[in-house]
Every structure is written in C-alpha cells, then in structure tokens.
Amino acid sequence: MIHAFSGNAAVAYAMKQINPDVVAVYPITPQTVAMERFADFVADGDVDTELIMADSEHSAMSCCIGASLAGGRVMTSTASAGLALMWEVLFVAASNRCPIIMNVMNRALSAPINIHCDHSDAMGARDSSWIQIHAENVQEAYDNIIQAVRIAEHENVRLPVMTNMDGFTLSHATERMETLEDQQVQKFISEFKAIYPLLDVDNPVTYGPLDLYDYYFEHKRQQVEAMELAYDVIKKVGQEYGKMTGRSFDMLHPFEMEDAEVAVVVLGSTSGTARVAVRAMRQKGIKVGLVKLRVFRPFPKDELREMLKGMKAVAVMDRSDSFGAFGGPVFSEVRSALLGEDVEVVNYIYGLGGRDIRQDQIEQVITDMSTVAKTGKVKSFVTYLGVR
C-alpha cells in the first residue's frame, strides 16, 4: 500500500504490523508522536501489545529486558537524552541477549538544550553491543524496523537492534512510502521463538548471576562472535526483504563508485543530499562516488576497505564529534579499516544540533577531495563544516 507517512507514523505503523507482545516507552521529542500513534493502536484494539508507560527511559528499557527474558517479542523507541538515560541498561539488554527492537530518532544531547538531529545519541551507545542500522528516508526507516526483528531474533545473533533515523529530518517529514500487507509482515518475521524464557516454569533458569573474573570475559567474547555472525544475517535478511519489496538492502550502498577516484562516506538522511551533490560534481568532471553506510554495528570493515581502496581521497562525514579524539566516530572506524592502504582519509564534522547541511557544502567537500587527490596534500584532517 502507498502512504504519505511522517517518520513517526511509519514507525508506529511498522510496530502495529509487527504486533509485539510488550512495548515499554517514555516520551521524548522527536519520538513522542510515534508512541502516541502506537498507543492509539493499542487503545483501538488493533494490536495485542501490552503497553507499559514507564516512569523514565531507564525504567522503559528495564521493562523491555524483563519482558524479553520472560519470553516476549519486545519493542521500544527513544531519542537523545532518553537513550543516554538508558545507557546502563542497554548493556544489560545486549549481555542477556534480549532481541529487543528499538527505534531511535537521532537527536543532539544537552546542553544547551537542543531537540534537533545529530548522531551523538546513537554514537554514544556504539559500544553497547547493540546492532545499529541507519535509515536514509522514511521508507528505509520502516523497512529497517521489519528487518530488525529477523536480525535480532536469529539464533546466531540474539542481540538487540537499534534502528536509527534522523530526528525531525525524517521523524517529522511526510514522505511517500510503501508498506507491506499485515500478513506479509507476519509471514516475514514469523512467530517469536523464546529461548530459555523465564516464564517456562517447568524449566527454570537464572539470568544475570554474579559473573566475575572467571567467566565474564568468556561471555563478552560470545557477544563479539554474535556481532560477527550478525554480519551475514543482516545481508541475507536484506536480500530476502529486497526480493519481496524490490528495494535493496546491504551493509553499504555505493553510488557512482565504479570509476570513482575520490569518495564521500555518509550515513543517515544526508545520503540523499550527498547523492545529488555527487551527481552535480560528476557533471563538472570530478570522478566522485558515494558510500552510504547503512549498518554501523557490526561495522562492515572488510567490505568498506574493498570499496574504498584505490581511492585517492576519502571524506568521512560525521554528524557527531568524539571530543578529544582524532575526528568523529565514523571517521575513526573508516580510517582504521583502511590502515595500510594508500588513501588519504579526512573528516568533516557537520550538522550538530540540527544545523542544515546543504548541497553546496557537500560539493565543497568533493572539491576539497579533488584537490587532495591532485596535490597529495591534506590541509586539515578534521574540518568543522558549517560552523561559524
């Protein structure tokens, strides 16, 4: 079916079609509308979900963990400070291998107070053992949520998945998008299979025991393995979903990379603007390509290296900063993946607190890359794009 949906409406609709057993939430801009809409579905009896209005995001995620361990399919949604307040329990969800699906409407962190988009929230949680997928538009946000169920619940993975989308830019933008039929979604995600559920009273289990120096390290190593196995699962689920919808889903989405000499790496809604900029600069004779990073965790290091080796210069665009580090989080990963390759990798921090990123700014980045390619000289490895 074709709809005109805002990002929030698309999230609520995807959740309605998934019909999870439990949703525990706390409202926060710009995610509130999605949960209001979903609460309507609950009130109208369109879903069988037990909706828990928690007293904070810390509690919301804690409820999700309990419900997940009890043996239910569980979802939630948050943003910004909400995700930050969940930080402690994010690790508990992942370590207990709860396949929780959480949509994050990416928003800047305080202070000063800012409700608009950047990726500081998600990047702050990047080491929590959650799979992280980023959407470019409302359509992808919807598609990612449905795929996330299959990825999280796969027996080789059993990790929570965070589906990210840019706050306001996508959450409050109405776009044309297609949804699947309810039955198609149900068939695709199939019945939830609980593994060692707490409510199976005939087979009692203990979750979260004291785990000191004698076993904690082994359990962390298992999470590393789950992330590695998730790589394949994400690709296969993407292919299967792609066949059903005619849209394609991979770890990385290259654009004009076949003969590219310089490249831009970007994630989230800026990918669309960057694609237009690449097209415009190609007309000016610059052989530039774009790599959209759809999955940030697990980080597709080998595939990215294959795609970017041989480039003369690569610009990595970060919508958050890692204060005191050498560049933003995406830059660190990309540069590290390209270690040993003869490629200049430079960083552009942009769009903090929802500062607009314009086509001409990305064109300037491409011009800079072209100069680096010609001269072999980098003026600055980290540039703050659009700051006064």
């Binding site: 370590s95 207990n96 291998r97 059993r158 060692y196 087979n203 009692p204 289990v205 203990t206 979750y207 979260g208 025991p209 785990d211 004698d214 076993y215 904690y216 390290f217 082994e218 359990h219 190593r221 298992q222 393995e225 789950a226």
Partner: protein, 94 residues
C-alpha cells in the same frame, strides 16, 4: 571443576540447572582455618547454630567435623565457642 571456554558456555551467564551452587567450593576463599579440639568440645552446638555456611557437620546430635569445602574461615565458630574448643589457624600453617 574445569573452567569452560566461550564456545562451551551458555550466553550471558545463563544458569539452566537448579541447585548448582553446591558445585562452587567457596572454601577456596578461606585464609584462616578453624581447628576443633575434640577434647574440649562438649557438642553444645553453638558453632553449628551460628555458622553462616552450614559448615559444621553434625550427626546424631554430635559434631563430626568441619566441611572445609564450604567453610569460608569467618571465625564465628571460634568466637562463639564457650569452651575455647575452636582455634583459627592461618592456611598453610602446620
């Protein structure tokens, strides 16, 4: 107990067998060992009542020994004994 590698153990420290704490020999924690003097002991059972780890072994109302697999060496038995029948000795001391 041989410690398992990451490929062999269940995720997240999940415990699926009930009553397994008996496998954990907490006696390993002990730095001081209670030694009971059978001559002085009157089987008053004060130590048996007070021991937080149920490590005083009793049969037919008589103390038959100390369970060193689970005695953590806290010394409560020595403290409460009205007859000074229990002495705490450093582990490793003869």
């Amino acid at each position: 107990m041989k410690e398992k590698g990451w490929k062999e153990c269940l995720w997240g420290g999940l415990i699926v067998d009930a009553g397994n704490s008996v496998l954990y020999k907490t006696g390993d924690w002990r730095s001081q060992r209670p030694i009971r003097d059978e001559q002085k002991c009157t089987d008053c059972l004060q130590c048996w009542i007070m021991c937080p780890d149920a490590a005083i072994k009793v049969k037919d109302g008589k103390i038959v020994g100390i369970d060193y697999d689970y005695c953590k060496g806290c010394g409560i038995c020595c403290k409460v004994c009205p007859f000074d029948a229990i002495e705490m000795k450093e582990e490793g001391e003869k």
